[in-house]
Symmetry: D2
Subunit: 391 residues, 4 copies
């Protein structure tokens, strides 16, 4: 039956995470190692050790890898708590892109691949990238994938240009999407490959300047030149890259939503405090409806986003109700647009403070802007939703 | 734990209601007795008999009065199904204002009052009014109540002017809010009174022309002139009218939301059909994103409204979580604004058809406009929400 | 040079029109002959005589037909004043569809046609219709025109089904769009025909119930059955109907905008008065920002719409700058959406009064909803604008 | 009479400015000296010399100071052209805050002050600051001014804390607002003072990190400690600071709007190019209405902002129509909100590119966010507009 109860043990873990983030992680928000390109690897390493000490590192991992294996709905509760600081998921090792990559590798990687590429990420010692997007657009429309892999029967030789590759600088576990050209030795089509970041042929041309700041080491532009990988580097099956990307995407979209819900709640809490304390025209600004209505709109929007996420997670938890692709599209489109408005209103309430780094609100706003584009821009989701409805 | 499952027996009743509305009630939507002032009493009587035959009349009543006594969450599921036609709740006897009046009387009326005023409404033979609002504004701000009751120790003599009194024409059970003046014989303050509609002193001046059309017999302007009622006419306790109004209001707001969700879903279904069938510029209009994005926005909004309602109902069902006043304010503000947008988009998709009575969509749109004002305009709710948050 | 000055003589005529509408026409707004189908012909005739007495009837006509022949910019100023009451343009004989029809006939009709079909409309004794739209959609996409005209060398025989034909009931001058089938006797393609409304073969099936109420005699559904017209009935040239429709449309869209700007200004004036006088929570509601911000938004929107209209009119007045099609699309899309929001906010400010006929605001709101669809729905305009920009 | 014509000589100067910005300034947009804190003084100096060579430096100055003294409407045309690059106004020396400061000094400064403080700014060798805002809020509500000036009959001793002081680092001409305490030697109240930036007692504590990047040397936090200034340092009259701030503000708001209109037009031009060239799902993305409708919305919004600015400038040019305070409030509120939406849509059209520094669009978006707060947040303007309307 319809229920919104959070069981006591889940609430306890949520509160533990919230307290950890608030007490241990928030103080790092003004650390200079949180740069224009996000937290650097040094800051990340320090934060990860805090989470390890607290016994909370990678809490979302499957039990067979030492995690707590929360359901999607439980993740919704816990990731929101983690997102209270944008550095929270970095510390807890449940940030993008590692979180989604761990999820995918846990589903698809074979034993050797798990050992070499997944476990070091789960234990927080290494990071991972998912190298799909290209300058020509292989994000929203994966048919435009231009990176090629030539197969000679023994090795794949990969050439291409990738960009907006989150965390490329310094990551060890690389998942690379390339299109295997038709060949007489085996299958072809879009395929995922696994390799280490220092393999010859991978060159980080530069880290892009972007308006978001919460991804470790930012977003790289990567040139792949005659990157030679053995047949064993294929992740899962040949030609299945788009299916795996979808497999990763539905839950990855939702964990994005969860973390950002936490960040938006934080922004709202800062705006509320400001609205109570700051005065203008003779009274606290929160007593002017121009401000208080924004607070009310935020209150409603945050709750609606929470409900949306919980619902989509429930569809994923009920395995027999399909892939959750339609539901997660609806929720991603809705949540990203609404949380952006929440952050925008918080900036407005804070006035000049809001557009500065005096609080994390300005940073949350800018990151939220990017969120409306990551994992599919809103327009692509609406296109997919309508097609499903009009079918 | 968080859950969105609808148990099989609830789903079965929902489907029964939906089928009843679709098969038996929808054909009456073009009946000429559905006038500018809503369905008239003749049409209502005919519809009520259909529901009685179907065994579904007043299904929401408490078990002690012969109903099925659904929880608030169960109501959410069932009233949405009832709302598929705006005449559905009329037939099933779960429409405003009777539904809220029955709820209130079930909570507060004494045995004699139940017998005289409540049971004839539950069995569908009579209708009821809740005479609170006044031309000067005693709706959003009840402190402006100007109707007075003078107490001489035996009788109350009531004078005042009421308007927007839904269903006043022809209703037998009247609940009247008046302010008892300080007097030496007993208590004073805003108080509810019960009497029959043909009592001397109640005069229906006229029925107002309004843009909504789903309330039986429309909205009346009522003059109360020396309306003399015995002390036994007091409903509940003297001076408690505002508390009772609140008691009635939280669930009444939500049932409004549920019924309108059903109506908006209907509008969307008509828009979808049109988008599939009507062509422009060489393809179905649903293949133009200008249309399909509206369909997607509606799909998201309808689901979000459903989640909002379910959540507020859950807080009411969990009796220990307070009155649900804050939650129902959030949900009423959100749902009324969003469903209006849904209806507006459906009108737009239908083009010229949308602003006509060729489908019920135009009527739903106009009714939805009024819904943003009934039970507290959105601005009053935001004011209350913000005060709660900023406390 | 950029200038926003209104010369004294134009201002004087504007004030004269405004005073006429306010003093003579506004009192008719509660006349029972203003029905669900708009003002009836009796009310219209009475209003027209008032304008004739005032020397203001059909002031926009060309000088050769006895009018004042204002430029498009002058019309913008004058029609806004006329629109202060939705009955103002009816009285002054500058309402749709007659105003646009007179414009078109003045441009295209030959001497005999002027005599028979135009002059009686200009002098206010007859009304006219423009029978283009069809149930299948020949409004936004004229390629869908299904009404056919078979030509036997002597007569055209027209068959088809038209709907949303404004003012069909009682109109004498009919402009009918039909597609001439290829024939050995002459040209073919979409063509305009002129005939009188009582010609055999024209049957008014019914008047549609629509949410707008300002068009004389409402919108009809018309069956054309073997309507036989002589070759001389062709208006302008064979095959040029779409060009003429465009010729009519650009200015007709703008005069629509002007009249509605007047009506929206009226709604705002009523909302302002209410915001000053009505109190809630201890002060005039206009001192709550929830209300006052709506007043400010309206103030901005009304001025922006005025500027938009003036600008598009200027492009039309500068004949060498093209047809004004792009500009009038931009302005129609913008103005209709913005004025609808203005009316919506006025309804909200008025509360329960706003959704009733106690003031004209509710009626203006409903009419404005239709305005977003007439003369091309917003989506069709955006489509055209973008194509122009992206060319 | 209403007119939108741009005379040939004005158009020629506009085109000259546009060509200068496009050819000479745009290439500097990727210069590393354009930092998080805006262009540094070195970059500025280089750009200023380019404008000097082109004969366009400080073109807006009064003729008596060697400028062209354009009217407000002429400025509207020219500043929009200058804003095509956010570095354009920097080069041309018509950027905030110098432009507004020069305007104010030109109106109020005496001959000695002009010589010492204004002329070096006009000739581009020095920069200026307007030190009004304080951490406690003396921006929107100047009654909260906490910086004090004690007058001993000879000197003023100023103490206070200022922040968001644009261009503080390196500026030579300082205009400081402080409240003169009641004293026996002369007047008191909020007063403007002029001094040089290296005067003892002025300490730049830090430059703030903000999301905007187009103000030279960013926004400083300034501590004023026993800043001793002679009586001759008063700018204009004692106690008149708020009046002068208003005098500066109405035109300064408008020049802000003009420059940002240019920047938003640039963003739109980049988005249009992308929409034409980038393909997805088999065709240019500009052929998907999800994108093309954003292009159309932008086209409309840019034109509406232009009209709004022209209109407010015209009211300023007509000196007898008041201060333009109401009109400039309306226009600032409207233009800042609309141009932000334009920039936001351009980001969305560009996808991942839009949130990066690959084009200036992302930077324009972030700057535009701040624009909704500078010179009065939208809410303060709406408050003022409504008060004027409801008076």
């Amino acid at each position: 039956m319809i229920d919104f109860d959070i069981p006591a043990d889940l609430a306890a873990l949520r509160d533990e995470i919230r307290a950890f983030v608030n007490d241990k992680v928030v103080p790092y928000e003004s650390d200079p190692r949180l740069t224009r390109h996000g937290p650097d690897d040094g800051l990340r390493a320090e934060l990860v050790e805090l989470a390890r000490e607290a016994g909370l590192l990678t809490f979302q991992a499957p039990k067979r890898f030492g995690g707590r294996e929360p359901s999607h709905r439980e993740q919704a509760v816990l990731f929101e708590a983690a997102g209270w600081s944008t550095l929270g998921p970095v510390a807890l090792n449940c940030a993008a892109p590692d979180e989604g990559n761990m999820f995918l590798l846990g589903k698809v990687a074979n034993t050797e691949q798990v050992e070499q590429f997944l476990l070091p990420v789960i234990d927080g010692h290494q990071r991972s990238v998912f190298a799909m997007t290209e300058p020509g657009g292989a994000g929203s429309d994966p048919n435009q994938l231009n990176t090629t892999a030539e197969f000679d029967g023994t090795d794949y030789v990969i050439n291409g240009h990738k960009w907006l590759i989150t965390g490329a600088h310094g990551a060890r576990t690389w998942i690379i999407m390339a299109r295997i050209a038709p060949n007489p030795h085996g299958g072809d089509g879009p395929t995922l490959f696994l390799c280490e970041g220092d393999t010859a042929g991978i060159e980080l041309e530069r880290v892009m300047n972007t308006m978001d700041r919460n991804y470790v080491e930012g977003h790289g532009v990567v040139r792949l030149t005659d990157l030679r990988l053995p047949a064993s580097a294929v992740l899962g099956e040949v030609g299945q890259a788009l299916r795996y990307a979808q497999l990763r995407l539905a839950p990855a979209r939702l964990t994005h939503c969860m973390r950002w819900l936490g960040a938006a709640s934080r922004a709202q809490s800062i705006a509320i405090k400001h609205a109570r304390e700051r005065t203008a025209f003779g009274k606290p600004i929160g007593e002017h409806q121009g401000v208080s209505f924004m607070i009310a709109d935020n209150e409603i929007a945050l709750q609606q986003c929470r409900l949306a996420i919980w619902w989509a997670c429930w569809t994923l938890d009920m395995g027999d109700r399909g892939t959750g692709r339609h539901e997660s599209s609806m929720v991603k489109a809705y949540v990203s647009e609404e949380l952006f408005k929440v952050a925008d209103r918080c900036v407005q309430i804070l006035g000049g403070i809001g557009i500065s780094d005096e609080t994390p609100v300005g940073m949350i706003f800018s990151d939220m802007r990017a969120f409306r584009l990551y994992d599919g821009p809103t327009e692509v989701h609406k296109y997919a939703i309508a097609r499903q409805v009009l079918r």
